[in-house]
């Protein structure tokens, strides 16, 4: 197969076949359910934050249950791997970096130092119909984290 291997890199196929951190876990601070109305892909995602005693809160766990294509499944797996253990501002920075890569129409060189395995999704940016697949879990995570942070602040 030709160009399509730039889309479906081995890293993506590996995460698709053997997803990391999959399955919904307790306890959690916020849960969201996001769908891609274009294709019906869905993800239920939970976020657990750890209060770091005055310092920035840390992403203690991301757990999810997802139905969808290889890109959306692999993206959820790679994202969880990347952001669990990071502080919330660090993880939000990664989300912004990944979003920018997806919106770059293939013009942005991804930084492996920052994005790790997520650089494998650079090829997705050239397929407009698939960008939402790659972003589904990231958007769900951002939404869940905003809710979790808000609840912590409200407490």
């Amino acid at each position: 197969m030709m160009q399509i291997e730039s889309l479906y890199q081995e890293v993506i196929l590996d995460h698709y076949r053997h997803p990391h951190h999959k399955g919904l876990r307790e306890p959690f601070d916020a849960e969201v359910h996001h769908v891609n109305p274009l294709c019906g892909d869905e993800v239920t995602l939970r976020v657990t934050l750890k209060d770091a005693g005055g310092a920035e809160p840390v992403v203690a766990d991301v757990s999810y249950d997802a139905l969808g294509c290889s890109i959306s499944q692999a993206s959820a797996s790679v994202m969880s791997e990347l952001i669990i253990g990071r502080t919330v501002p660090e993880a939000i920075g990664l989300q912004a970096e990944f979003l920018s890569l997806m919106q770059s129409k293939g013009q942005q060189q991804p930084d492996e130092e920052i994005l790790g395995d997520a650089v494998a999704f650079a090829g997705v940016a050239k397929y407009p119909a698939r960008i939402k697949c790659a972003l589904l879990a990231w958007m769900a995570w951002k939404d869940a984290t905003a809710q979790a942070v808000k609840e912590q602040t409200d407490d």
């Binding site: 197969m1 399509i4 196929l13 294709c39 892909d41 294509c69």
Partner: protein, 423 residues
């Protein structure tokens, strides 16, 4: 007489395109939108180059020519649908707008809006609208919204495992409470051709109206509104070799006369004062504002094109192609076909799932090979839930498709299985 597909393909310039890595295009997405023959493209260019003007209100030669093109398309549409009376054909933007037109006219009648006598269109709590589980969202959502506005209840036919409407529910669903039954003539996912006449007769026996969504049938087979027993029937140009931006809503004349208008504006009035208006007779009562005039010229050319090809021949060609495709696809291990397997009782839109390969991934691999299909829920989410799936892949065939394209599709599916199946 069989269709000369090689000759037909020459009429469609886009079919010569190469895509991705220089692959010849196999366009199997005509249920989504069809391609356009040179004759339609030329009719629209000719309209813009020689006849462009607004219709009905321009008292010059171009205005007369534009009006003739627009109203000429209406006469052709009426003939094409077996309607006879062109005043029964309302041009809309698409079928969604046609269905919304009826739904809003009913809501407007319920609110006592002027412009129609409206009695039989008024809804009250206790009244029921009946649809089916295999409808496109465009024949579900407008009715949900109407029920919300009026307090009427929405009910629906279920779908059997083999993709047919569950007619065992006919007597319990269609009752003296039923005011309107809205259903697809042919499913955009399953390909099923529904027994519209049988359901229409049951609906009429209890005084209910029948609206037929014929988006997927009018392009592919001879359709006669009276034979179907329809009261309203919608079709759209872009699925039948015509342009986007124009659809047709046929309605029985006395119904169109009784219905209050949907969109207000220019051209739909008889007379306007500062505090009230009176309205034009149908079809103009339902055509507010400047309409898609060049698109009507394109639709007229599309109707001429299909008429010349012969809808019986188109249907026969697609039945053969569907039969071949169902056999070939059915032979792929791990592939599950949705809908009837007898090509005589279905159209040539064929949806399926492939184990271990998500439809989005499958369509991506097929695209790489030049095969254009649709992946997703095809705007029929409830139907996919009914079959316990999230999404499917749909290959849909038209008069210009060939058996060789089915073979390319089958090879592509097998390639995707090898690509994604390996662990």
């Amino acid at each position: 007489m069989t269709l000369d597909v090689a000759r037909i393909r020459k009429d469609f310039p886009i079919l010569d395109r190469r895509v991705r890595d220089g692959r010849p295009l196999a366009y199997l997405d005509s249920a989504n939108t069809s391609q356009k023959p040179r004759q339609v493209i030329d009719a629209m260019s000719d309209f813009f180059e020689r006849h462009n003007a607004n219709i009905h209100r321009a008292s010059h030669q171009l205005g007369e020519e534009a009006t003739a093109a627009y109203e000429g398309a209406r006469i052709k549409a009426a003939g094409f649908l077996g309607a006879g009376d062109e005043a029964e054909v309302v041009f809309t933007k698409n079928i969604s707008e046609g269905i919304n037109l009826v739904a809003y006219a009913m809501g407007n009648a319920t609110n006592g809006q002027s412009g129609g006598r409206g009695g039989r269109f008024r809804l009250a709590p206790g009244d029921e609208i009946v649809i089916t589980e295999m409808e496109h969202h465009s024949n579900i959502v407008p009715w949900q919204l109407l029920c919300e506005r009026t307090g009427a209840t929405l009910r629906w036919f279920g779908v059997t495992d083999d993709g047919q409407l569950d007619l065992s529910q006919l007597e319990s669903l269609i009752t003296e409470r039923t005011r309107l039954v809205a259903l697809a003539h042919q499913s955009n996912v399953l390909g099923t051709i529904n027994p519209v006449r049988e359901i229409a007769d049951a609906a009429h026996a209890v005084g209910a109206l029948v609206l037929v969504d014929a988006a997927q049938s009018v392009p592919h087979m001879p359709v006669d509104v009276h034979e179907l027993g329809a009261d309203f029937l919608g079709a759209t140009a872009h699925k039948m070799c015509g342009p986007t931006g124009i659809g047709m809503l046929w309605g029985r004349r006395e119904l169109l006369e009784e219905m209050p208008p949907f969109l207000g504006g220019g051209e739909m009035i008889e007379s306007v004062w500062m505090d009230h208006s009176t309205f034009a007779p149908p079809p103009h009562k339902f055509e507010a504002g400047t309409m898609p005039i060049a698109e009507a010229a394109g639709l007229g050319a599309a109707i001429d094109y299909l008429t010349e090809a012969g809808l019986d021949q188109v249907r026969a060609h697609e039945r053969d192609l569907a039969g071949y495709a169902l056999g070939e696809l059915g032979g792929i291990s791990g592939l599950r076909l949705l809908g009837p397997t007898d090509p005589g009782s279905r159209g040539a839109a064929i949806s399926f799932t492939v184990s271990e390969v998500h439809p989005h991934d499958l369509s991506q691999v097929l695209d790489e090979l030049g095969v254009a299909v649709r992946a997703g829920h095809h705007c029929a989410w409830p139907l996919h839930r009914r079959f316990g799936i999230q999404a499917s892949t749909r290959a849909s065939f038209y008069l210009y498709n060939t058996q060789a394209e089915v073979d390319t599709l089958v090879e592509g599916i097998q390639q995707a299985q090898r690509f994604f199946g390996g662990t």
